[in-house]
Subunit: 331 residues, 4 copies
Amino acid sequence: MAADGEPPAGLAGIRTDLALEAREFLQVSGAREVPGVGVEEEQVGPVKVTRVHILTAEAERLMGKSRGRYITVECRALRERSREVEEQVSSVVARELRRLLDWSQHPSVFVVGLGNWNATPDALGPRVVDNLLITRHLHTYAPSELAGGLRSVCALAPGVLGLTGIETWEIIKGVADKIRPHVVVAADALAARNLDRVMTTVQLADTGIHPGSGVGNRRVGITQATMGIPVIAVGVPSVVHAVTVAQDTISLLLDQLRQHASLLQIVSQMEEVEKQELIKEVLHPYVGDLMVTPKEVDVQIDQMARVVADGLNMAFHEAIGEERAPHYTGV
Amino acid sequence: MAADGEPPAGLAGIRTDLALEAREFLQVSGAREVPGVGVEEEQVGPVKVTRVHILTAEAERLMGKSRGRYITVECRALRERSREVEEQVSSVVARELRRLLDWSQHPSVFVVGLGNWNATPDALGPRVVDNLLITRHLHTYAPSELAGGLRSVCALAPGVLGLTGIETWEIIKGVADKIRPHVVVAADALAARNLDRVMTTVQLADTGIHPGSGVGNRRVGITQATMGIPVIAVGVPSVVHAVTVAQDTISLLLDQLRQHASLLQIVSQMEEVEKQELIKEVLHPYVGDLMVTPKEVDVQIDQMARVVADGLNMAFHEAIGEERAPHYTGV
Amino acid sequence: MAADGEPPAGLAGIRTDLALEAREFLQVSGAREVPGVGVEEEQVGPVKVTRVHILTAEAERLMGKSRGRYITVECRALRERSREVEEQVSSVVARELRRLLDWSQHPSVFVVGLGNWNATPDALGPRVVDNLLITRHLHTYAPSELAGGLRSVCALAPGVLGLTGIETWEIIKGVADKIRPHVVVAADALAARNLDRVMTTVQLADTGIHPGSGVGNRRVGITQATMGIPVIAVGVPSVVHAVTVAQDTISLLLDQLRQHASLLQIVSQMEEVEKQELIKEVLHPYVGDLMVTPKEVDVQIDQMARVVADGLNMAFHEAIGEERAPHYTGV
Amino acid sequence: MAADGEPPAGLAGIRTDLALEAREFLQVSGAREVPGVGVEEEQVGPVKVTRVHILTAEAERLMGKSRGRYITVECRALRERSREVEEQVSSVVARELRRLLDWSQHPSVFVVGLGNWNATPDALGPRVVDNLLITRHLHTYAPSELAGGLRSVCALAPGVLGLTGIETWEIIKGVADKIRPHVVVAADALAARNLDRVMTTVQLADTGIHPGSGVGNRRVGITQATMGIPVIAVGVPSVVHAVTVAQDTISLLLDQLRQHASLLQIVSQMEEVEKQELIKEVLHPYVGDLMVTPKEVDVQIDQMARVVADGLNMAFHEAIGEERAPHYTGV
């Protein structure tokens, strides 16, 4: 349903790809805890880990996210751009990836970097691929001891429909059918609701990438259903929809007005549709395609691509001690 | 005053680098025509030209823009990306540049491409320089007949303070003092108030670039005062401040509420400061540095850089028939 | 055989991807005309067209190129970088493409841009894809009248083994099996023998891309045999192997010495292997991976990618009059 | 004299920017040790340091390099691209920079990245600037404790004459006169004679950059004479001139032939001019502008830019422990 851009009833108009934020939103709107949603939090130094588990069809509907496990790794300190912090986050990402899947059972990995390398906020996926340690060809062409300790990893940035004329999932499925990996890891740029999380957060999920999610708004999902093998999603929020900014402004303003008892009734009569009209007017002629990004987005995308790629490198290759992973970045 | 980001009293919180929009805003807020501001409009095919002339100190204060001439060249059809339309706009830009300055009296031109090439929405200036026809060295090193019909043009993209550690104006002034051009042309990315104008508008001005204007918010201006020679500004709006979006949402919502007579008084009591608080809350933790851009910004910047550079090439070089100018683009 | 870098006996050590040059070389070495090779020349303004047809197994062996048709479009004037010349060359490329294949029988085209976008001289293929008019998704998602006159074209730059860990042909075959186009067009950077042809020549062939050819030296071919559908190759020489430069130096020097009759016998005793040793010594430690490129290669690659892409756009889409094609470039 | 591309008599036709290689060449051609040239060698793990000191006018003439100190830091292991090796080389570069200048006497540094960012082999300088830690603006705008331990560093990549129409030295001199630094550090791509040294070597010199040196062949030098303050040159060889390859081939071939006593006399009659003719013929139509580069040059330039920038960061800023420097790279 998200495919056509329409969010689920449960979340009037909220646009986020983070399970964490869907839950936060539902809690704010009353519900103390969302039924059918398990949550677990952990602080690792400057890094906050939140594990959201969507267990029931009901929770699925409420959260507007498929059943499965979503792990959010947050670290505001990434803004300082010190390599230590980057390495800490990478290590946590690696550790959490190992929780999501038993990699020993999935010796060969196909990483796909989703998104448009010509649109910076959407370029995270391709840049992650640039920073990956690729080894499949070593397994194929070198004596296996050469590849020793390194899992078979291959990667592709399939581009976007507008650039190729081919659906992303068609490319991935076609190549996967040919090379038969054990698991697909899909890296993608996401939209968050909270500006605080833009470029400071990594979300891992065992649910794959679903239609309508991501900055690029995919038409068809990259999931176990379409691929026939497990799909691990790795995402970083790089934008907030301008619509969200407008919505939040309205909500806050209305909340404030509601304090004037006398207004309560009139304001509460204001229909959702009226609000949508307002927003359309504000964001004309773009609406859907308007993104709010920090001015620094170009540099930040490179940083996060490096951090995520290091995490993947560590998770994939036992041979790479966590402290050694960064040696491969930028190579 | 704009230097510290604070807009003039006249324009409560409006953030635009377009004189055109400053005027529109004042008109909306009651004033039929702004005293001391001359306006002239012309339609050339799909291109709309508006010439705003700020004549008095009073108008200067009201508009929040220095005295001088501002010419806006607008063409929504640029969104279709046909080369014909691009060439039409380039030709109009060239013609209007010839209105702003008697180029025959200014044989040597120094073009500076302001902005950060690492931040796409701010990269217009450097990309304009990439597309310019550079000739100064031909005059210096070749028999003059080789450079025949070509004015002496040199160009530099000085980068931004964060990248160089040097104020943009220091670099430009230093080089200008050494090479002694007759005029500086400063290309820069601007912020608009109206999303409709983003990437479809070119503003020319004989006032130079003033502090606090542009996407990059310069600290010191590039003006006749700082450079000692005329400075022609050529700008293209590439962003709208997220703040503007939030403000517009509030204004529209309040307008709508005002229709409920009973509310008029309460709502009207709402202080500007309250609104600012609201917006700060919505845009935390960024506020000033948040930009709203179309997803396509990367491609659009290239297009507009080409269009502006062609206009400059035509304005500078009699030898280039208007129909021939595009031959130089992409070279 | 070329796969392992070893050229055919017929062409002692000559490294060129141009059928034209293989023939020239054979002629120089005595043979007036090569048996089983048909040749046809035509001059179109500044553009020289040479059509080489390899007809027999014997010719195949001698030329070191598979049987089939090779069309070379040469234009030294491209060095001047005027758009007119570029458009002329594009038109000739389009016309010759129509000679190589009956496009009406192949309504859907899959263009693959071979090569490494991180290695400029090898980046021609990916840049051609950047400049292509992509339409397959219009056919799929828009009412057909919208796509009217436009053939279904999709494209992919599969990258290289070192970046993806996947053989180029595996990616192309996998995607082709999924989307089932009628023909594959493979764009690639080539190695020439004659520096004069670098960046001034386009070779079209109905033979596909063969192992060991191209700057990137593919391991497996992209041919009708591997793809199961026709494969049209479009190549531009962007480099000369440093080995070639060394070889030519030796040959010229020896020729000169041979003029001293007394030397004839001694010099002629000089074994091919001795020459190879010499060259290895000169080019240590690289040999195979050393390329000779003009300093301007980065700019030239962009130019030729634009020229080739325009030619393809015109050949594919009747709707695009030859004079209109360039409107799409750079878009 | 090198300005017009003509090498000094002493070094018939040899084209190298490395003092080390000029000396090697002279030694090979007989001279055991070059008079007036002091040499000192040191091995630091995988890194070889050679310090060449040109002391006399005679040595200056013979070597074709101005009087002064040249330090070469070589490390073939850089080809393996491990970060450890990169950090070792950076540390040695930092240490040797401290030998060349008493930085405590030169608190403010102006780094200029020479070369053309559009021509990969010439892009080293600009990429070094990209990787530098810039601090001058912190000194100007922040309380000095914020900048504590960090020297005042600013940087600029002035581009090349063809792009700007302004001589590189004019830009640097103009800016230097305005901002008054204590020393200029000029980073540039160099031409080597020995392919083995391409991308594995850093040359430091207290002589500045001289006309005709570097890949871009500057017209006017960046030296204490033109700048009025000390100029430290930091260069990395990224190419070998194709001419060099041809020359070496000829020399080797002739050496071999000379072994046939009977030939000695005829061959020795072969004039230098004949050789030049031969080479012109081989390299037509380019000659001077042909570069031999490894296919990997794009990736290697990034690596070496990082290594050099780290070395500079460490040399400039006491606050940066050598092991900590890489934290700033890529930021």
